[in-house]
């Protein structure tokens, strides 16, 4: 038991170390050399010349990390401050996705007719990329004035993140054991009572699986949305730094986005497991 515990800490650390090593090896480095005419020239050497290595990344981007909430200028802020802006908008879009998606899932799960009518449409809309939804969002909310950008972003996040919630809720509703419904019938529960006391509790584990997947997508979408709309946030920061040719910041952003996504998923799966434990 003890040993297994050790390994589950040690092995990921070894993995990270190996990855950093490999990264350092393939990345390029800057060297200065003196030319014959006395001038000095900087050149990038290495296998993937333009990829900054871990050491270089750390040196160039540490000001964003050591003061994560600093706000120096509009486009020069701490990395967690940028992340926070993104998280706020993700939270709003995600909330919309859940509020719309859960009842839709229930309708699909409850009514075979409804399911037959809308399932094909959902299957077609589901794989559409956020990059395709975004322009539509911008057009739809073009005359919303100052909040146009935000509304377009929310629209894109909600419409992309909704589907796992819809589909998992529908599956969960269809999977409610007939026994539970028989109990409701014998007790003569009203429709609302059956919904709230039997169906929703029985579907919760499925709903939370949907919620977790939806959150993952919402976080995936935010980067694309910020790149297109220019909203301040981590995706926008990444894009600006790309345009400025600061590749170290891109790496920092990728690592941050990954870590945040991972944490969100962990948190949701803890919640999910709590509900699974009950059933």
């Amino acid at each position: 038991m003890k040993k297994i515990h050790w390994e589950s800490v040690l092995m990921p650390l070894v993995g990270i170390a190996l990855t950093l090593l490999a990264w350092q090896m393939i990345s390029g480095r800057t060297v200065t050399r003196s030319l014959a005419d006395g001038t000095v020239e900087e050149v990038r050497l290495g296998w993937v010349q333009d990829l900054p290595g871990p050491v270089q990344t750390w040196e160039k981007t540490r000001k964003y990390v050591v003061e994560p909430f600093a706000k120096r200028e509009e486009l020069d802020q701490g990395i967690l401050r940028f992340t926070w802006y993104s998280l706020v908008i993700v939270a709003k879009g995600y909330a919309i996705a859940l509020i719309l998606g859960t009842p839709m899932g229930f309708l699909l799960g409850l009514s075979a007719t409804f399911s037959k009518m809308f399932d094909p449409i959902i299957q077609v809309l589901r794989p559409v990329s956020p990059l395709a939804w975004m322009p539509l969002g911008v057009v739809l909310f073009a005359n919303a004035g100052k909040s146009a950008n935000e509304l377009a972003a929310l629209f894109t996040i909600a419409v992309c993140a909704m589907w796992p919630t819809v589909l998992n809720t529908a599956v969960g509703v269809r999977a409610i054991p007939q026994d539970y419904l028989n109990v409701a019938r014998v007790l003569k529960l009203s429709r609302t009572q059956t919904l709230f006391r039997i169906m929703i509790p029985a579907t919760l584990p499925y709903m939370f699986t949907g919620y977790r997947l939806s959150l993952g997508i919402a976080w995936l979408v935010i980067v694309a949305v910020e790149m297109l709309t220019g909203r301040i946030g981590i995706g926008n920061f990444l894009w600006n730094e790309y345009n400025n040719g600061l590749y170290t910041s891109i790496v920092l952003c990728i690592v941050t986005i990954g870590l945040v996504g991972f944490s969100l998923d962990r948190a949701m799966s803890l919640l999910e497991r709590r509900f699974k434990g009950i059933l």
């Binding site: 109990v183 019938r185 007790l187 003569k188 029985a202």
Partner: protein
């Protein structure tokens, strides 16, 4: 007229062109306060029969009447103990029973409802487990919760569907006594479904065998004339008990009541065709190489003479 009456009841499943009749021409009458056991083979249609009474299913032909009124649908005047307990896993023992009490007695005060819940938990000896969820209970305990939930609804008739079917033999024995005691004490009319003739004899006033499906029907009813204490150790040697059990089993094993037994099994034949050694081996034409033949044959053996 009897309290519960089933009159020429038939029930089948499936679309009209491929209908499988499960019950055919079932007649049953149960008096008020009587405990009736129905014994039958697995898959004969025992649960179907019970659900015709609970109202979860409706008969195709014939009628089911409780106290003179035709049963239209499920309702709390018929307490059901489902075959698989059907407790709601997200509610505790007390909450499961409370849900039933709340929906059946909306007019009661909070104190009355709490009292009803506590009394029934106590009745099945589960007071220490009242705040546990079904997942944390043993099979026998879940069974008792299910009985308590059905009784807490104060139904006019109690329907038990193989209440002890999923339990091991020892637990079964003690629970038979316990449930039997609770049922008798409640004075309610009880229909008990079981697949064990002993259990039926031990717990009921009357035992009726159900023939094997399809088109199952009820046999003659055998009154249980044993002293009401029914000590199970003494009972094993009681000649009347033995005789009754022999009669019930004989009817169930008799012509017409016994299921048609056939066994279907997959036979896997060797994958090689034998090689004909008579034909001389040569490169062209000549003896063919050993041939693989990946195929199965299905064979049905009828075990009835």
């Amino acid at each position: 007229m009897s309290f519960l009456v089933l009159d020429r009841v038939s029930k089948g499943f499936g679309p009209p062109e491929a209908r499988r009749e499960v019950l055919r021409g079932v007649d049953l009458s149960v008096e008020q306060g009587e405990i009736v056991a129905i014994v039958g083979y697995s898959g004969a249609g025992k649960s179907t029969l019970l659900h015709l009474v609970s109202g979860l299913l409706g008969p195709d032909t014939g009628s089911v009447r409780l106290d003179g009124r035709t049963i239209e649908g499920p309702g709390p005047d018929r307490g059901v103990v489902f075959q698989n307990y059907s407790l709601l896993p997200w509610l505790t023992v007390a909450e499961n029973i409370r849900l039933a009490v709340d929906s059946v007695f909306p007019g009661w005060t909070e104190a009355q409802r709490a009292e009803q819940v506590d009394r029934h938990i106590h009745l099945v000896n589960l007071t220490p487990a009242r705040d546990r969820r079904p997942g944390e209970l043993s099979g026998g305990m879940r069974q008792r919760v299910s009985v308590a939930r059905a009784l807490a609804m104060d139904p006019r008739i109690l329907l038990l569907d193989e209440p002890l079917g999923a339990l091991d033999a020892l637990t079964r024995g003690t629970l038979q006594d316990e449930i039997s005691r609770i049922c008798r004490a409640s004075g309610k009319t009880v229909v008990l479904i079981t697949n064990d003739p002993d259990e039926g004899i031990l717990m009921a006033d009357r035992i009726i065998p159900l023939s094997a499906g399809p088109g199952a029907t009820l046999g003659p009813s055998f009154p249980v004339v044993l002293d009401p204490t029914r000590d199970r150790r003494a009972l094993n040697h009681d000649p009347r008990f033995k005789a009754l059990r022999a009669e019930v089993v004989a009817w169930l094993m008799g012509p017409g009541a016994r299921p048609a037994v056939s066994v279907s099994r997959k036979l896997i034949l060797p994958d090689l065709e034998p090689e004909d050694l008579e034909i001389p081996r040569s490169l062209i034409g000549g003896r063919r190489r050993p041939r693989r033949r990946s195929e199965e044959r299905r064979e049905t053996v009828d075990l009835n003479p």
